[in-house]
């Protein structure tokens, strides 16, 4: 968000005549307006888009593509004996549209299912997700960091007083022990999760910044340990790395096999009574259900809390009756939805209790 001070600075450089040199003006505005790397990376393109005619043409072309997306008719057409009849729709299937009737744009997007986001909304949703995730991360940071000062440390206080002639002018405090929070995220990136996995991935990337001990795995038919890729500072680079290193992206789902692989390869290292495990999957198992049940049971025994996030839970009339889910439900501490921005933000409370 830009404030009046930024605008004043921009006017000041314009008044000094810097605008006469396009590059100087561009770099000056960049230094003033950008506040983080993500802004810095996008600024040049936005500046060009605003000032260059070249981008006007592109914008026109974009407008045309947006217009081409036809709106669904309000009524269904029935052809009966060669005559056309218009049949009014009884009820809109999408619950979220009903819920957000009359609400502003941001609220509507916040409640829109990721799988139902159209082309026109995608960009706006991206921006909103970035903003809301950032706000959430700031809240995390504030709450996760305890005040450093604990009880008064008598020994240290006396020792400090020696240099001041025995007068206790400075009180020394003990440092509070910071609780180590350990979270393991296991994300399903199979074909059935395609529309959700991108947003869930971004969500985990934000959390990674604030949980010192967060491990991240993806799976579909095989498990991939992606934590090392999250170390890069550039968010786009991370997404690119994960995209190119996860071999089984958008393929079938073998949850049981992948979780067994997790247990045998990483179980000893990343499972303890201090760990919270979050599985993000729709639970549509194509492999052995028995193996899935056993793997989830073992994970539950070895960790502190097991949370399952299922995007399908956000759908109207969803019942957890699929074989995979039915078998794992008894082992779960929480079973929540993760189908839109709002549901992801609500998880904040769940993770706070970690």
């Amino acid at each position: 968000m830009l404030g009046p001070q930024d605008t004043r600075d921009a006017f000041e450089i314009a008044e000094r005549g810097y605008w006469l040199d396009r590059t100087l003006f561009q770099y000056s505005l960049k230094a003033i307006y950008c506040k983080r790397k993500e802004h810095f990376d996008r600024f040049d393109e936005m500046f060009d888009r605003f000032w260059s005619r070249y981008y006007d043409d592109k914008l026109e072309a974009r407008k045309k593509t947006v217009k081409q997306i036809k709106k669904e008719p309000e009524t269904d057409t029935i052809i009966f004996l060669g005559a056309k009849f218009n049949k009014p729709r009884k009820e809109k299937e999408e619950k979220e549209a009903k819920q957000t009737k009359g609400a502003n744009e941001n609220v509507r997007l916040r409640f829109t299912d990721f799988s139902k986001v159209d082309v026109a909304d995608r960009e706006r949703l991206e921006e909103l997700a970035e903003e809301l995730f950032h706000q959430m991360s700031m809240r995390f940071k504030r709450r996760l960091e305890d005040a450093n000062k604990g009880r008064i440390d008598i020994r240290k206080t006396i020792r400090h007083s020696i240099s001041k002639g025995g007068l206790m002018l400075d009180l020394a405090h003990r440092k509070k022990r910071k609780e180590k929070r350990k979270v393991v995220f296991i994300l399903d990136v199979s074909g059935s999760m395609d529309t959700y996995s991108y947003y869930l991935l971004r969500y985990v990337m934000v959390l990674k910044k604030y949980f010192r001990e967060l491990e991240f795995f993806t799976f579909s038919t095989h498990l991939t340990h992606v934590t090392p890729m999250l170390r890069a500072n550039n968010e786009l680079q991370i997404l690119k790395d994960i995209g190119s290193n996860v071999q089984t992206w958008s393929s079938g789902t073998k949850i049981g096999e992948s979780l067994t692989e997790f247990l045998s390869g990483y179980g000893n290292k990343f499972l303890s009574q201090k760990h919270v495990v979050v599985i993000l999957s729709d639970g549509l198992e194509t492999g052995s259900v028995t193996q899935l049940k056993e793997a989830v049971g073992t994970i539950r025994r070895k960790c502190k809390t097991l949370i399952w996030l299922n995007p399908l839970k956000g759908m109207k009339d969803y019942q957890p009756i699929q074989k995979g889910i039915v078998n794992v439900m008894p082992h779960l501490d929480a079973f929540e939805s993760a189908h839109n921005l709002d549901s992801l933000l609500k998880l904040e409370k769940l993770l706070m209790d970690v």
Partner: protein, 290 residues
């Protein structure tokens, strides 16, 4: 290009610091708008060096504050000189009354100035480098806000001390944690990226004039390929220079498998990264890239 910025680039070049136009503009604004400059970037891209080069360019002092977790007012702003205060009380307790003594021992002469206070009470503008601010606690970051926006510091016993001359403040961060929006809002911002290939060759040639041009180009190609290999700790400019120096010492003419096996420790600082490079052929890292 603006003449002043051109001059700045040329002057920094004399200090062995190669500025690109965007960074030069940020430094130029830091000087003209009198706003702090926040530099973010990977470790080893030359953020700290920029402050030294700026101080040399302006022929002024550089005051550096290295941040760490647990940094407090006593180490950053001021501390009372307790010994001196006690001595003063002992010397004059017979001659002066308590009230006068109390007033006297809380004067500027009993204050031990730490970097931040020194920077705003200096007679001529200095360059203040607040290095790795992301390592400091949030409390310290909040305390800095007053200094960064109003160039003043409040000391409870003395009141508000306004800057005699405004220091040029450079803050650096490696993004190990997210800085607050309040701090960002008060600063100009620049993301310092790794230099382009040509620029890095120029840096090496500038720092090591004896190096063969072809060898410098090979070093830079190798390093740039490494940076694209998603290592745990990608090498910075300092590592490029260290490696080039090592190769010079060994009188190497070309980078070979044997040389890489023996000297990779000066480029990579992580066991997994070293193994990754040792298991590959040197030719894979010498493929020319843009």
């Amino acid at each position: 290009m603006n003449k002043e910025i051109q001059g700045l680039i040329a002057d920094f070049y004399e200090q062995d610091y190669i500025l690109n136009q965007a960074l030069a503009t940020s430094v130029f604004l830091l000087n003209n708008l009198e706003k702090p400059l926040l530099l973010e970037g990977d470790p080893g891209v030359g953020k700290t060096m920029l402050a030294s080069a700026l101080a040399a360019h302006l022929k002024t002092d550089l005051i550096r504050l290295q941040c760490y977790e647990g940094l407090d007012v006593g180490t950053t702003i001021y501390e009372w000189n307790y010994q001196k205060q006690l001595l003063h009380i002992k010397l004059f307790e017979q001659e002066k009354d308590k009230r006068t003594l109390g007033e006297e021992i809380f004067g500027m002469e009993y204050v031990l100035k730490r970097p931040l206070l020194r920077s705003i009470t200096a007679e001529k503008p200095v360059v203040l480098l607040i290095d790795e601010i992301d390592r400091a606690d949030e409390e310290f970051e909040a305390f800095l806000l007053e200094l960064l926006s109003d160039f003043q510091i409040s000391i409870p016993e003395l009141g508000t001390i306004k800057a005699v001359t405004k220091p040029m403040v450079i803050l650096t961060s490696n993004r190990t944690r997210e800085l607050s929006d309040a701090l960002r809002r008060r600063c100009l911002y620049h993301w310092v990226d790794f230099p382009s290939k040509a620029m890095e060759i120029d840096i090496i040639a500038r720092k090591l004039p004896d190096i063969d041009e072809q060898l410098a180009a090979q070093v830079v190609t190798f390093i740039h390929n490494l940076r694209k290999s998603s290592l745990k700790k990608p090498p910075g400019i300092a590592e490029s220079l260290d490696w080039a120096k090592t190769l010079l010492l060994l009188n190497a003419e070309n980078i070979t498998d044997e040389i890489v096996q023996n000297t990779v420790g000066s480029v990579l600082k992580h066991k997994d990264d070293i193994e990754f490079v040792r298991n590959k052929s040197v030719q894979e890292f010498l493929i020319p890239i843009d």
